[in-house]
């Protein structure tokens, strides 16, 4: 197993910049997730690592070895393709054994390894079938087996779960995480699904338009998105974003949004002044909007600081998920989604006053989209 290092990788297809200056270090034995919307360059990054595509500029290292000019067959990586790319004319056994045969393993050694890996994956009874006779989940396992059997330096996985039904996907998610832990292998896992990224990745990298937006622990990326794109891309329902100009009222800096004033924390307002920013985008996650505390409750919890903003409006749409309800509130002509507990049940048309605490307000420079403040 080894680390994989992307050094200032750029890739152009004619006029399309698929990747711009991507620098990324995937640690040894890490489950690393590349996350981004369709067309952001995830597959391209993976294919460059695999040696299936040549970067326009930059270098790629596996371990400490510069493999930029090493052909795919000699990189000792394994790739799991989105639609598996199993050899349709070969049995499961031959599919799994193929990489070993190409590397000249002895016949009985191959048989032993194939047995071992297929047993691990629970497909030992399918060895004589052809891929055409397998279900999606079984094909997925064969593709994994083909990758695992030769103990590669790293596993590259391109949206491997996207062709499975949702139940199977949840199951395979857990299995892949366990597998990675058991193998102590380096995984680079590509997905456009933020839930997969959050649940599986030890670290995630968010990509957009071929540019790296943020790298970090899933929780950190969620809690402190580096820019507006990351903020809106990660989280479901998505973060509410309200735009407005900066004002000073009663000695406090605030943003005047269509849904009301949002106070800017002291730490953030220092940054705002320093950077000469005049208009901001305010981000509030739906779960951080809570019904305003009653007078008595506020009195009892004296520690509760006064909220950064109160948003008042009518409930326009209520989606109940059983455990919680997503309420769309229209305030000042803008829709804001709040994620509220399932009780009390909110009726459509009800007036709600929603509060958000200062530490849950994200601020972004409207022009650059970059995060402002802590």
């Amino acid at each position: 197993m080894a680390r994989v290092y992307f050094e200032e990788i750029s890739k152009r297809f004619g006029g399309t910049h698929a990747l711009r200056d991507l620098t990324l270090e995937v640690d040894d034995e890490e489950f690393f997730v590349l996350l981004g919307p369709s067309g952001c360059g995830k597959t391209t990054a993976l294919r460059i690592a695999a040696g299936l595509e040549e970067p326009t500029a930059g270098a790629i290292y596996i371990g400490d070895r510069d493999v930029s000019f090493v052909p795919a067959k000699d990189r000792d990586l394994a790739m799991v393709f989105q639609n598996y790319a199993l050899y349709p004319h070969m049995s499961v056994r031959d599919n799994v054994a193929f990489g070993l045969r190409m590397r000249g393993y002895a016949r009985d050694e191959i048989e032993r390894l194939v047995q071992e890996v297929t047993a691990t994956l629970g497909i030992a009874d399918l060895l004589d079938r052809k891929p055409g006779q397998l279900s999606g989940g079984q094909r997925q396992r064969v593709a994994l087996g083909r990758a695992m059997v030769r103990r590669p330096q790293a596993f590259l996985m391109d949206e491997p779960l996207s062709n499975l039904d949702s139940k199977m996907r949840v199951q395979m998610r857990a299995e892949l995480v366990r597998l990675q832990r058991d193998l102590a292998a380096t995984f680079i896992y590509v997905t456009h699904d933020q839930v997969e990224a959050m649940t599986m990745g030890q670290r995630i990298a968010v990509l957009e338009g071929g540019k790296l937006q943020q790298v970090g622990l899933p929780q950190d990326v969620y809690d402190r998105p580096a820019n507006r794109f990351v903020a809106e891309f990660i989280g479901s329902p998505a973060m509410n974003v309200l735009e407005g100009d900066l004002v000073v009222e009663g000695g406090h800096t605030a943003v005047r949004t269509p849904a009301g004033l949002v106070r800017v924390s002291d730490a953030a307002s220092a940054d705002v002044r320093e950077q000469n920013i005049t208009s901001l985008a305010v981000g509030i996650r739906p779960e951080h909007l809570t019904p305003e505390a009653t007078e008595s409750a506020a009195a009892t919890s004296a520690a509760a600081a006064s909220p950064a903003a109160i948003i008042e409006g009518q409930a326009d749409l209520v989606e109940s998920l059983g455990s919680e309800q997503h309420v769309t509130v229209v305030a000042g002509g803008w829709s804001v989604v709040a994620n509220l507990p399932s009780s009390p049940r909110i009726e459509r048309g009800a007036t709600l006053r929603l509060a958000v605490a200062a530490e849950h307000v994200h601020l972004f420079d409207i022009e650059s989209g970059e995060r402002v403040g802590p």
Partner: protein, 326 residues
């Protein structure tokens, strides 16, 4: 409605009769065509085989199976079998191999590759007559380019179209002829085969190219990541994925070989002696050249038909199991 219910119903017989009647107009065109151009001639050939006749069949004598026996055991027939087999061997497999090679070359994604694809497949567009005349010039013993090349390579000139090798001269038995096959090249047949090969390569290139383009690129990428080099990719991905195409090519290649006529007529007229007389050419000579032995020609056609049928069935039997269909 199940079949049993259908039978139980009164009037269902009438209904199925009606259905047959309704189907008839749709079947009629092909029934007429096949009847007129396949089944009637086939029956007629069997019939003709029982008679010997004068050129215009104004008089004919019934001889029964005697004519079948006589034709099928004649040394001319055995020779034509051997010549046809050799011709098939010389043309089909090399054409498939070369066609595959060219198709793999032309299947790469390179700028201007379309030019190569066009060139490689261009022999399809040349008529048999023109190609044959072209080869007549190339093979000319004194002015032909081929002999120039042979001489430049330090070998002695070949009398391409006039040297019948093992197929001419006296052979005491069939076995002697077969023995001669190995040591005395039949240059006339080789010449005809070269021209045929050249003419067929275009078609085989196109067929294989079409087959290659159905193989998903991802399989090659998976193989590369799995550690396969170019040859291994060809051996383990291209060839098996191409097997239905190659099978198809071998069947039609064989049928082409059995039906070759024009180039033989122009290049050698079946000669010297019978050195390049394949079965089809022999049928033509027997039936359409004096003394117009129509009955004997009919017997040979039936033999050719039987052989083609048997070989096609055998190919399906032998290869179908090994061919991978998705």
């Amino acid at each position: 409605m199940t079949a049993a219910e259908g039978v139980a119903r009164p009037g269902s017989l009438v209904r199925s009769a009606w259905r047959m009647l309704a189907a008839l107009p749709f079947l009629l065109p092909s029934m007429v065509l096949f009847g007129a151009f396949v089944f009637y001639p086939l029956g007629k050939a069997v019939y003709l085989g029982f008679f010997i006749s004068n050129p215009f069949r104004t008089r004919q004598i019934y001889v029964g199976f005697d004519q079948y026996r006589e034709v099928l055991t004649s040394s001319e027939f055995v020779s034509s079998l051997l010549v046809t087999g050799t011709f098939t061997l010389y043309t089909v497999f090399p054409a498939i191999a070369i066609g595959t090679f060219l198709a793999v070359l032309a299947n790469q994604r390179l700028p201007g590759i379309i030019v190569f694809r066009t060139v490689f497949s261009s022999t399809i567009a040349a008529s048999v007559a023109i190609s044959a005349v072209l080869w007549l010039v190339l093979l000319h013993p004194s002015i032909g380019v081929l002999n120039e090349a042979v001489e430049a390579a330090g070998l002695s000139r070949v009398n391409w179209l006039q040297d019948g090798g093992w197929a001419v001269g006296e052979h005491a038995t069939v076995f002697d002829m077969v023995a001669a096959w190995f040591i005395d090249p039949n240059w006339a047949l080789i010449s005809v085969s070269l021209a045929t090969l050249w003419m067929n390569i275009g078609l085989f290139t196109v067929i294989v190219l079409a087959g290659l383009q159905t193989i998903p690129e991802e399989l090659y990428e998976a193989a590369r990541v799995d550690g396969a080099g170019r040859w291994q990719q060809f051996r383990h991905v291209t060839l098996p994925m191409l097997s239905p195409t190659l099978f198809f090519a071998s069947v039609i290649g064989m049928i082409f070989a059995f039906q070759s006529f024009g180039q033989i007529q122009i290049l050698t007229e079946g000669g010297p002696v019978d050195a390049s007389t394949v079965m089809l050419y022999s049928i033509y000579e027997t039936g359409f050249e004096p003394p117009f032995r129509v009955g004997a020609a009919a017997v040979q056609s039936l033999a050719l038909f039987a052989i083609m049928l048997a070989l096609t069935l055998a190919q399906f039997r032998m290869l179908a199991g090994r061919v991978f269909y998705r």
